[in-house]
């Protein structure tokens, strides 16, 4: 590869993204989770720019800026102000058994490497080895949504999955076509608008954002 430094930098950033994914799994304070999410977005934006520089695919600069605007500034800001407005910044998530969650997370990472192994063989891109990290981030986001019972935290898991998907696109193919990336960003923006409304609805109807309270629609046996 023409840019050994870029490849190494990219691996470092991938490691940081994975690290922040694990950090998200263990954080208990709302604000800390939002901050960690913003850091993850920043690593993602830098990594996209680095790949764009090393590969000469200049459209990745636009993607990088888009990530910076959406995932580092806009979404954390929206979540931040929602948390303040709903007065839940002091609440602490009830997290059961962090060690076993971490262990499941580790298994998911190994599984991701296993799953993407055939693709690593085929690809000649310098980013091929980070695809596993991307898939792991998606899975860790899913794990976070399953293990946490708070609406805000679940949304952060959802957004983390989106980070993972974006990272997958940059590492597997140097990014999706521009029209697709813009469309995904638009969907994300609408989703942000919707979950903002949801937080208020859930809060007024259930007096809390704990989703365990919403358990009426179970199948009757």
């Amino acid at each position: 590869m023409a840019h050994p430094l870029a490849a190494q930098l990219n691996s470092l950033l991938a490691a940081l993204i994975l690290l922040s994914a694990f950090a998200l799994l263990t954080q208990r304070k709302k604000m800390a989770i939002v901050h960690t999410f913003a850091w993850q977005g920043l690593f993602l934006a830098i990594s996209t720019a680095v790949i764009g520089f090393a590969s000469g695919e200049h459209h990745l600069y636009i993607s990088s800026l888009l990530t910076l605007a959406m995932k580092v500034i806009l979404l954390p800001y929206i979540l931040y102000s929602l948390i303040i407005k709903l007065k839940i910044h002091r609440e602490i998530d009830a997290v059961v058994n962090i060690p076993s969650t971490m262990l499941i997370g580790l298994v998911l990472v190994v599984f991701s490497y296993h799953l993407t192994a055939p693709i690593r063989e085929l690809s000649s891109l310098m980013t091929r080895s980070t695809l596993a990290v991307a898939l792991a981030t998606v899975m860790l986001g899913m794990l976070m949504m399953v293990t946490r019972r708070h609406a805000v935290t679940q949304i952060l898991g959802f957004l983390e999955m989106e980070n993972g998907l974006f990272f997958a696109a940059t590492s597997a193919t140097y990014g999706m076509p521009m029209v697709v990336e813009l469309g995904v960003a638009l969907d994300l923006l609408i989703a942000a608008f919707i979950f903002g409304i949801f937080f208020f609805h859930i809060n007024t109807n259930f007096d809390s954002l704990d989703v365990d309270q919403m358990a009426k629609l179970r199948e009757m046996d």
């Binding site: 693709i119 085929l122 998606v138 959802f158 521009m178 609408i190």
Partner: protein, 482 residues
């Protein structure tokens, strides 16, 4: 040009309704917008027929026999739903369940939803297909929670989160598909175009496509409500306003299945039939059986029909998985007639629930005595859904069953079991609701009858007599999938 005006109308009407959606004549604006879209889609259909195949696949859109059939269906059902929603929502407003702002929101989002589905059907790009699927979901999330009751908010949250997680898998699948395509077609936006991909599908790397299909199956399978990814569906389809239930069950599930069969066609090109087909047959059969048995213990009328949607999606998925001209023909026909019959049934169900002020089946009695049109509409709709001759669903299920007997006879007994249980559940739950004396406290209402009976007539048509040109049309649509 026609395609652009087709999409333009719905987005323009959505914008207008965002401002005047609570106006006295807003439902009429909604109807005329949908009707206009329907007319344009018919023009497009004739153009496709005239040019004998596909209207030029550009970078953005393409039209062939398969997707134009679904476009015409989508615009037709959206028009009849708009007609039904005029009466229905007026009553809801009189009952004080929705206010001014929510009417504006409702009308605007209805058209945006149609817009998203039309893009999903017409786009040539697999990435845009994903985006518009997600847009269609997002447009309907807040419609499910329109009444702001705790139950509806719970349903909408589940819909938002579970479908969000599900469809994220489909995006990962799309990334993998792009990865495989780029190696053949070169970098750039053209590598995700269906018209290019279907040309080179034999050269796509089988290992990557196998992995991609698993992710695509989970993603779009969630949206199509296939078991075990169906948890959100009964809630989302039963808690929202009934017009939305009708389009969610009748249209959005079809779009998800459409995405899935397009993916299958590509995977088959690379891996040969078998891999994708077997997965789809498994999902389809499990969905059919689980949904059929779940229907037996439902107490809420809209949940009953939500499960019936899972059942029918299962049948169609099974048929496409089985493959071959006969089963695929049955599958395409099944998608079309199920959509019409299900939305017609939901229209009757909506009025029945309004007459009794509840969705609980035990409290709905004597519909035929109370309002013959609603009662008979519900009864005939259910007979159509249960697969009674001479309705079109009988024809499609018969075709699928015949193909199963021929291709995979050991799967015919479970298929037949599912169909029988579903029939029994529907018949015994609905019969006491329509027959017998009126329930105490039943209210009279003026129902919107045209949509129901128009749909039922259209469902009847293929069961009685399928015009030659339509049969040809379906055969050509089936050709695309082989």
């Amino acid at each position: 040009m026609i395609i652009l005006s087709l999409l333009g109308i719905s987005i323009l009407v959505a914008l207008i309704l965002a401002f005047v959606g609570d106006w006295k004549y807003a439902p009429e604006v909604n109807i005329s917008g949908s009707l206009l879209t329907f007319a344009v889609s018919l023009v497009l259909a004739f153009q496709v027929y005239g040019e004998g195949g596909s209207v030029a696949g550009s970078t953005y859109f393409f039209v062939d026999y398969l997707n134009i059939s679904l476009v015409v269906l989508t615009t037709l059902v959206s028009t009849t739903t708009a007609i039904f929603s005029r009466r229905y929502m007026r009553l809801e407003r009189e009952h004080g369940r929705v206010g001014h702002w929510r009417m504006r929101f409702y009308h605007a989002m209805f058209q945006l939803f149609i817009f998203a589905m039309l893009i999903a059907l017409l786009t040539n790009n697999f990435g845009v297909l994903w985006i518009s699927m997600e847009l269609a979901t997002l447009a309907t999330v807040l419609l499910v929670s329109l009444y702001r009751t705790p139950n509806s908010i719970e349903a909408a949250w589940k819909y938002f989160i579970l479908c969000g997680v599900g469809i994220a898998q489909a995006l990962f699948g799309t990334v993998l598909l792009y990865f495989a395509a780029e190696r053949v077609l070169g970098a750039g936006g053209d590598a995700l175009l269906w018209t290019n991909l279907s040309r080179v599908s034999a050269q796509l790397d089988p290992t990557v496509l196998r992995l991609a299909f698993v992710f695509l199956m989970v993603g779009y399978g969630t949206k199509a409500g296939l078991v075990p990814l169906h948890n959100w569906l009964p809630d989302a389809h039963s808690e929202g306003p009934t017009p939305i239930s009708a389009v969610l069950s009748g249209l959005l599930l079809n779009i998800a299945l459409y995405a899935l069969i397009r993916c299958k066609a590509l995977v088959d090109g690379s891996l040969g039939p078998g891999f994708a087909g077997n997965i789809m047959m498994g999902f389809g059969l499990i969905s059919l059986l689980t949904a059929a048995f779940s229907m037996l213990r439902q107490k809420d009328i809209k949940r009953l029909f939500a499960y019936s949607s899972i059942e029918h999606m299962g049948i169609a998925t099974f048929a496409f998985g089985l493959g071959g001209p006969l089963a695929t023909f049955g599958g395409v026909l099944h998608m079309l007639v199920h959509s019409l019959a299900k939305s017609a049934t939901f229209f009757s169900v909506g009025h029945a629930a309004q007459m009794h002020g509840t969705q609980e089946m035990a409290k709905i009695r004597g519909l035929i005595k109370g309002n013959p049109a609603v009662g008979w509409g519900l009864f005939l709709g259910v007979m159509a859904l249960a697969g009674m001759p001479p309705f079109g669903i009988f024809t499609s299920e018969f075709l699928i069953l015949t193909a199963t007997m021929k291709e995979a006879p050991w799967l015919a007994p479970p298929l037949l079991l599912g169909l029988t249980v579903a029939f029994a559940a529907l018949f015994f739950k609905v019969q006491p609701m329509v027959a017998g004396g009126k329930a105490p406290g039943q209210q009279a209402l003026t129902a919107a009858n045209i949509p129901v009976f128009l749909h039922l007539a259209l469902v009847l048509a293929p069961g009685v007599y399928l015009p030659v040109f339509l049969a040809d049309w379906f055969h050509l649509a089936v050709e695309i999938l082989r």
